[in-house]
């Protein structure tokens, strides 16, 4: 007997006739016979409808296709010199300086284009148990801090990050050893002025645990956590700095 799936002869109302059902019983055996027989009775066209209905019902159960309303957590505003604490870093904005250029800052304004330097002095303490890299080329899962301090409204990572004391570029921050860093941005000369209040956006990362393709802990991309306000001092060419 080669014909394991004998052609069913359907009666006009869709139900198989008695003879075909009898043949199925003798040919099909095993645990899936009942399932196969049951699915044979469902017209193929119905599967699309059943699938679509299931999709719509499940989607509706999870709240439909509307975008989930973003939860706007208020970001607190803090004053100059106040420590912003997080699980990874303690960040204190100390001073903001507008200067023509600054040797060793790692950022190079072009005077001919009317550019100046906005320098932010920030003390950062690494509270994590491994060093935090300042390099933009740090590994994907390496803890870093260079994205955690940005100017509110500008958003870009600083053009140069150096230690304030010895101008080490992109210094590594060792656990619990605080350091004062200079974050420098090249800005148009008329973008900021002396006495203006600058809002610095401080971001916190979240500690995540490797799930499937790797193991270990790593810090997520930082999200806004606080706004620090600092008054800009224009020091001109920088003789007094």
């Amino acid at each position: 007997m080669f014909d394991r799936y004998p052609e069913r002869v359907d009666t006009p109302n869709g139900a198989p006739d008695a003879g075909a059902t009898g043949a199925d019983k003798t040919v099909l055996s095993g645990p899936f016979a009942r399932l196969r027989k049951a699915s044979d009775r469902v017209p193929t066209k119905w599967f699309a409808t059943i699938g679509t209905t299931l999709f719509v019902v499940v989607t509706a159960a999870f709240g439909g296709l509307n975008a989930v309303a973003a939860v706007d957590e208020p970001v607190p505003t803090i004053a100059t010199g106040v420590v912003h604490e997080s699980a990874q870093l303690n960040i204190t904005v100390q001073r903001a300086v507008l200067i023509d250029s600054l040797r060793g800052a790692g950022a190079f304004p072009d005077r001919d284009k009317g550019e100046r330097l906005l320098v932010l002095l920030v003390e950062i303490e690494n509270r994590w148990h491994a060093p935090a890299s300042g390099s933009m080329f740090a590994g994907l899962l390496e803890p870093t801090y260079h994205r955690n301090v940005v100017i509110d409204g500008m958003g870009t990572v600083a053009d140069g990050i150096v230690r304030e004391d010895d101008q080490t570029l992109n210094p590594t921050l060792q656990p619990r050893v605080p350091a004062v860093l200079a974050f420098s941005w090249v800005v148009p000369a008329d973008a900021y002025r002396d006495g203006q209040t600058l809002t610095v956006l401080l971001k916190d990362a979240e500690l995540l645990e490797g799930q499937m393709l790797f193991h270990g802990e790593y810090w997520s991309a930082p999200e806004p956590a606080a706004r620090a306000q600092v008054t800009i001092e224009d020091v001109g060419a920088g003789a007094s700095q």
């Binding site: 010895d166 590594t172 656990p175």
Partner: protein, 187 residues
């Protein structure tokens, strides 16, 4: 019938694999375990391709080299380092100090100012040890702690790691330490 035999063999093999993975501690992570080479100060040891002799351990409040200096709490490790089997690749890329749960990496600050002030990351040579210093920048409260110095070529994955215990309470504590330039150990 042949289909059933194949399925049965597959199930038996899966069960066996389950037992094997259950008997393997920590599963695949142990594949990456380093090979620990214990060492001590003034003892010469060799791993797969890294030879180390730590010659002195000193705590200092200020370190300097040439025109550079830094104040804080520093562990200055003076050591000889050489390659054992090949010079390419051979570089002292991993120099970490582990204290409790915290890991400190060798400070890049002296080497940033003067390449010769730090042995961290330097290429190593067969038969001719390089002598120099590695500096760790530490919190001030470390002076009573115990730590371990871990030195390796290119990561602590499935390669020799030379481990030197450091008892901070027993170390000499100096006000200032000048860093030696990297030089041949036996010129």
């Amino acid at each position: 019938m042949r289909g059933w035999t194949g399925a049965a063999v597959a199930v038996v093999m899966l069960v066996c694999a389950w037992f094997v993975s259950g008997a393997t501690p920590d599963g695949e992570r142990r594949l990456e375990d380093p090979f620990i080479v214990p060492a001590a100060v003034s003892t010469s040891v060799e791993g797969r391709n890294l030879g180390i002799e730590v010659t002195s351990l000193v705590l200092a409040d200020r370190v300097s080299t040439g025109g550079w200096w830094a104040e804080g709490t520093f562990l200055v490790v003076e050591l000889d380092a050489w390659a054992v089997r090949t010079e390419s690749p051979a570089a002292l890329s991993v120099a970490n100090l582990v204290i409790g749960d915290d890991t400190y990496s060798a400070s890049e600050r002296p080497g940033d100012y003067d390449d010769d002030a730090s042995l961290a990351g330097r290429g190593l040579f067969l038969e001719h040890p390089l002598a120099g210093a590695i500096v760790f920048e530490l919190p001030a409260d470390v002076a009573t702690a115990h730590g371990t110095l871990r030195l390796a070529l290119s990561g602590e994955v499935a390669d020799s790691v030379i481990v030197v215990p450091v008892d901070f309470a027993g170390l000499e504590h100096r006000a200032e330490q000048a860093l030696p330039d990297v030089a041949w150990a036996n010129p």
